[in-house]
Amino acid sequence: MEMGHESGSSREFEGQILAIDPIMGDSLLLTVSAPPAIVQRLRPGQFFNIRCRFPSAYDPLLRRPFSVYRVDVERSALIFLVRPYGRGSAWLADRVVGDRVGLLGPLGNAFTFSPRTQRVLMVAGGVGVAPLVMLSDEAVAKGMDVVFIMGAADESGLLASSELAGSVEFVAATDDGSRGHRGLAPDMTADYVPWADQIFACGPEPMYRTLRAVVDPLRVNRKPPVQISVERGMACGLGACLGCVVETRHGMVASCVKGPVFDLDEVIL
């Protein structure tokens, strides 16, 4: 492997918050400026490790990974979906337009379409919706048919279907039945498994176990294949610390580099 002896192509930079918009109840969409080369080349499923504190205060210490929800090529900006949950995300949600945030990325691999895919099924749980929005945009742009299943605790946690292209079929599920089907997102997938060429899922880990239980009996020769984005506590985001590993058929691999997207059949959850 040849390494740059000159100053390497830095993936660490500061972005400026250009816009903050409410979404999905108490969550926010943060539009953050980024170099054009990064915005243009970004692939759906990739993420950034974001510093969620003032530089001189060391608590909370670590960066937080956030998937890209969408890119805004015209403004040369990345859009993140932030749910104020714990200390880091709450800090981020507390920013105002004009503030600067430290970004490291793009990191990780991406969701990939197979050459002949025409019909795609998205399965999103909560803020897991983020990378699937960008992926849906891309699928629609490629002329694919998209069914987008989304689950949330209640109505307020659901994505507004207007966030997706008009051609996308949006299926909602809520734990309390306040909108759409009562139940979990994976429960809604059964009808679409035979239809789909590929399935893409993003949500909490228990969702994947349920998803596997639902789709496996319906799949033939592991088809349609299922790509999932796993969520692990992270430190470096670059494959150096081995704190974020996922157990796969080929051993423990860093989910920040070999993931976060994995084939459901490859990972041991």
Partner: protein
Amino acid sequence: MTDGSPPDLSVDLAPRNPRELRLANPVIAASGCFGYGEEYAGVIDVQRLGAFVSKGITPERRSGNAMPRIIETPAGMLNAIGLQNPGISGFIRKYPPMWERWTVPAIVNISAETIEDYAAMAARLDEQPGVAGIEINVSCPNIARGGYCFGWDPGMSADVTRAVRDVTTLPLIVKLSPGATDIVAVAEAVEAAGADAISLINTLVGMVIDVQHRRPLLANLTGGLSGPAIKPIAVRMVYQVAAAVKVPVIGMGGIMGLRDALEFFLAGASAIQIGTAIFVDPGLPIRLIDELQAWLEHEGFASIGQIVGIANEGFRRGDSAALTAWETAGA
């Protein structure tokens, strides 16, 4: 004071070893926080570092601990990676050949559970091109002594050092464990046993309880505490050890910026390692090199060596400045 040329940042970390461990600058990426160097190649100019230390290598391949392996703590983090690594054979096949083409010195961190295993690994590294030195991680359980950590005991630490010294002429750094009550005794023992340099501190053992699930959060139960939280402990130990030994001391523990780095140099470190900070601020090590140089210039020092230990009067006088009883006990 200075003759116009920029202050000299270079340092030899193995002055009593003919093979030398000369670094262009005293900023080193710490073991376990920098992978094998290549991980950061796309982010920073790795070749500008003074050196870097590899992830800990073990005699056999290890897949590491179950997840979760890391958890954030106040101004710090706990890790229980469990030394996931390809083992010495897999390691030697893959990394030293890559490093041979680099200019930055690569130091190999080794961990084992028996003295024989430490020595066997060191012997294989001895004539390995691409390897500039060995850092012995003694924060491992000694199986022959019921799992008591090598690094907690001066005698056991010295035994490992001596066994490794016997099989290699490579520059040898011994990395101390802060779990030792009497860190100076361990430092003196490994110096006498042939260490070319001493690095400290490794992590402190900690635990976080997952209150929701009512059990320790890390799959391994405990993990190693690193980051700014431990810096005051690290600075104190460097101050004590540097005053007691003649070999160079490499300080680390929670360095997040120039002021932290200077604390370690002033306390007696000849070089520093950056660990956890790399995760949150990957640009830091390279920035530090420039900031150190600018600071030395501004303060009128001709070299980094001129500030080593100057916060310790005894160190400056050349006598062993042991802390008094109340100072070491804390009070």
